[in-house]
């Protein structure tokens, strides 16, 4: 559910994101693969490189500057120019810069921007730049930066935010459920939700319906095959998925979810922080938000491992550092990206904020196994998150084929079904057809 947090973008971003593309004026194919060659290393680590981060100033200015200074000390011929961009509008700025041929040499990417830039051949193959580096990272994290149908790995994994379960234990206990036995499967989660709703008297809801952030994760956790083996068709139209819709529909009608959460979830923190929601969003960062904004509710907050169902492990969503393909100083850029994402630097970073290293050595740091007295939600969340991450695997991730566009198309059908306007099976079949149509269309466009 780290995705949920990332997608909590404000209006400005969403407003502009797409229309930006409308204006992309280069008809000359600025991003086709053949335009730019994989950079050749010269063996000399020197030159000036630009480094762009996503919203680290001002909170982490000291940390990042420290990392840069240490690097410049080690390689005196390199000058790193650091620019930090706010999260809102980050992708827009990237697209504009990419269009203008002005990407930074080393750039922080999230899943969406990584996919776009890598697919358009704008990122260097880091496995080629540095063949030995792979073993340094958690395997799942490394593999995340491979692309279907393309040779290579296109970014260095950086920090990770795992999915965890957060809930208000007072409200949870009111239903007679054992606070220390949180649900572990989606089916169980629904059962619990039903019990809690029976006792809530309409005063609080259990969870946010928000199909956009629940799918396809919930289905994967229930054992629904989202894609076929060839990854060229969606196959989620199964009885299990029908069951998911039926349960959601029933719970929605009973008031287990806020009515409005069917379409949006930007008030999750508000509801949770006001004792009106049992399950909060599942990211360790959220715990810090609650601690800052609703100290009373923070005291009632319990954390547990995420619901993983038949998968038994969580997915892995990392931030990453890409290297611009036509960088003038490939040696310095690659060396610097490796430097920022190395074990010690990632651990030092994680200690400052609720994030986790994707670096294997980093994750083994004792800091991440310390549960304290097991009572403080923030400490506990850190330990549980790290434990989960050690077993995290890519098969629990949202498949790359499940693009934003496809997600939206499926979610629209699900909303109708959960509201009871359309029969579950009909909606599911229609959703799958839509998704396959878009998938085929995208494949066709790639061919061109």
């Amino acid at each position: 559910m780290s995705r949920g947090r990332l997608s909590r973008i404000s209006i400005a971003t969403a407003t502009a994101a797409a229309l930006l593309s409308t204006a992309a004026c280069g008809l000359g194919g600025s991003g086709s693969d053949n335009d730019v060659k994989q950079p050749e290393k010269s063996g000399k680590v020197s030159g000036e490189i630009s480094f762009r981060t996503l919203q680290l100033k001002p909170t982490f200015t000291a940390y990042v500057q420290g990392v840069i200074d240490a690097f410049e000390k080690k390689y005196p011929d390199v000058k790193v120019k650091w620019e930090d961009v706010p999260g809102d509008g980050y992708n827009e700025k990237l697209v504009a810069d990419a269009q203008a041929g002005a990407l930074p040499d080393v750039v922080n990417l999230n899943t969406d921007s990584f996919q776009l830039l890598a697919d358009r051949g704008m990122l260097a193959d880091v496995a080629k730049l540095d063949p030995a580096v792979q073993k340094d990272y958690v395997p799942g994290a490394w593999d995340q930066y491979k692309l279907n149908g393309k040779q290579g790995v296109f970014a260095y994994p950086w920090y990770v935010t795992p999915e965890i379960l957060t809930y208000n234990k007072d409200l949870f206990a009111k239903s007679g459920l054992d606070v220390d036995k949180p649900p572990t499967t989606v089916e169980q989660f629904f059962d619990y939700a039903e019990r809690i709703t029976e006792k809530s008297g309409g005063k609080y809801a259990v969870f946010m319906a928000d199909p956009k952030s629940r799918l396809p994760g919930d289905w994967q956790k229930m054992g629904v095959p989202v894609l076929n083996a060839e990854k060229d068709a969606f196959t989620f139209d199964t009885p299990k998925a029908v069951e998911w819709i039926e349960r959601m529909k029933e719970l929605y009608a009973k008031g287990a979810m806020p009515k409005e959460s069917l379409t949006k979830s930007d008030d999750t923190s508000q509801l949770y922080g006001a004792d009106k929601l049992v399950f909060g969003p599942g990211s360790p960062g959220f715990i810090r938000d609650v601690k800052a904004n609703a100290p009373k509710v923070y005291a009632k907050t319990q954390v547990a491992k995420a619901v993983t169902g038949v998968l038994g492990h969580i997915g892995i969503y990392t931030q990453s550092l890409g290297v611009r393909k036509d960088t003038k100083s490939p040696d310095a850029a690659a060396e610097f990206a490796k430097w920022v994402t190395n074990g010690p630097n990632q651990v030092a970073f994680s200690k400052e904020v609720a994030i986790y290293p994707s670096n294997a050595k980093g994750l083994a740091d004792p800091y991440f196994s310390d549960k304290g007295d097991g009572k403080d939600p923030e400490t506990l969340a850190r330990a549980l998150g790290a434990e989960e991450l050690k077993e995290a695997q890519l098969d629990a991730n949202t498949p790359v084929e499940w693009t934003n566009q496809i997600g939206d198309a499926v979610v629209r059908e699900m909303q109708k079904a959960i509201k009871g306007e359309v029969d579950a099976k009909t909606a599911l079949t229609k959703a799958q057809d839509e998704a396959n149509k878009i998938l085929a269309q995208q494949a066709e466009q790639k061919q061109k």
């Binding site: 947090r5 990332l6 404000s10 400005a12 407003t15 502009a16 797409a18 229309l19 930006l20 409308t22 204006a23 992309a24 004026c25 762009r52 996503l54 919203q55 680290l56 100033k57 001002p58 909170t59 982490f60 620019e83 930090d84 961009v85 706010p86 999260g87 809102d88 509008g89 827009e92 700025k93 697209v95 504009a96 269009q99 203008a100 002005a102 923190s269 508000q270 509801l271 922080g273 006001a274 004792d275 960062g285 810090r288 938000d289 601690k291 800052a292 904004n293 609703a294 100290p295 009373k296 509710v297 904020v353 994030i355």
Partner: protein
């Protein structure tokens, strides 16, 4: 109001208007006399009218200022307090405002924004007034075409032209400069239209008198038209200040060095994916950004009425 039909209403309105015109054109001295004849009735009506007016004003106040008040109250909440519970802060503090100032170089960002805002106000007032003046005067070729094209450009969404704009600004070597932030908004079509509408309302006789005095086109513009359109200029000031003060996406695209950041860019760093989203801090930042706009509005609102009438009389 009971009327027999729209036609009747219209006729009545016309009659009233004509009557009004006659009264004005007729003779001034009659008016004070009319007022003096029934002072008591007049003042009672004023009192009733006034209280009705204030009542309506307060009602509208409740409807319109909700979010700001809410945000303001949130910004006063102390750290131990639950942001999401209750509206009123139990222990009001200005602590959050100090924290905003500490979180980033507030005054530097405000300074940058003021530079852009000052440029925008100057260029908009000057060029929009000039352009609006030309558009409002007849007697030159292509006027209708230009007007149509301008209106049409209002219809393209900003986002759809943004990348092109960025490439142009880049070509001009203005990336990462405050001039680059300002330039695309240096004259907005909206302001051109506002000034044009204002100049159209200037009575022809005033202009003719100036022509008779031997004033050339620039002098007429400068001495007759601009003073007549002070209200509209105040509006242009506000819209261009608001544009510069409030804009987020365009400065973000143009600027890379955080030393050049404008206030809105700085404020966005208060809320984000890796930072704790402290709602009190965000609210305090938003209030700090709002205040100058409100103050400017408050300072300028009295000029709204320095419209055509007053300006014309002065010349």
């Amino acid at each position: 109001m009971s009327t027999t039909g729209p036609a009747a209403a219209k006729a009545a309105a016309q009659a009233a208007a004509e009557a009004g015109t006659q009264a004005v054109a007729g003779a001034g001295p009659e008016e004070p006399a009319a007022g003096a004849r029934k002072p008591k009735r007049y003042s009672r009506r004023v009192i009733v009218g006034l209280s009705g007016r204030y009542l309506t004003l307060c009602l509208m106040l409740v409807v319109l200022v909700g979010p700001i008040v809410w945000q303001f109250l949130t910004s006063l909440k102390g750290r131990g307090e639950n942001v999401y519970e209750g509206v009123l802060p139990s222990d009001p503090t200005l602590d959050n405002y100090t924290r905003v100032a500490e979180a980033f170089p507030l005054f530097q960002y405000v300074g940058n924004t003021l530079v852009v805002a000052a440029l925008a106000i100057t260029s908009n007032c000057l060029f929009a007034a000039m352009g609006g003046y030309a558009l409002s005067r007849a007697g030159w070729r292509g006027r209708k075409t230009v007007f149509t094209v301008l209106i049409a450009t209002l219809m393209f969404p900003f986002e759809s032209v943004m990348i092109s704009m960025f490439l142009t600004v880049r070509e001009m070597g203005l990336v990462d400069t405050l001039v680059g932030v300002w330039l695309p908004g240096a004259v907005s079509v909206l302001n051109l239209m506002i000034m044009r509408a204002a100049f159209l309302a200037v009575p022809k006789e005033v202009e003719e008198a100036a022509v008779l005095d031997g004033a050339n086109e620039w002098q007429r513009f400068r001495r007759v038209f601009v003073p007549s359109a002070k209200g509209a200029l105040a509006v242009v000031c506000i819209t261009s200040f608001m544009g510069a003060w409030d804009d987020f996406l365009w400065p973000l695209i143009v600027l890379t060095d955080s030393d050049n950041y404008t206030l809105q860019l700085g404020l966005k760093t208060l809320a984000g994916a890796t930072t704790v989203n402290d709602q009190r801090l965000i609210a305090a930042g938003a209030m700090a950004a709002l205040l100058p706009m409100l103050l400017l509005f408050f300072a300028l609102q009295r000029y709204f009425f320095r419209g055509v009438g007053e300006g014309a009389i002065k010349t």
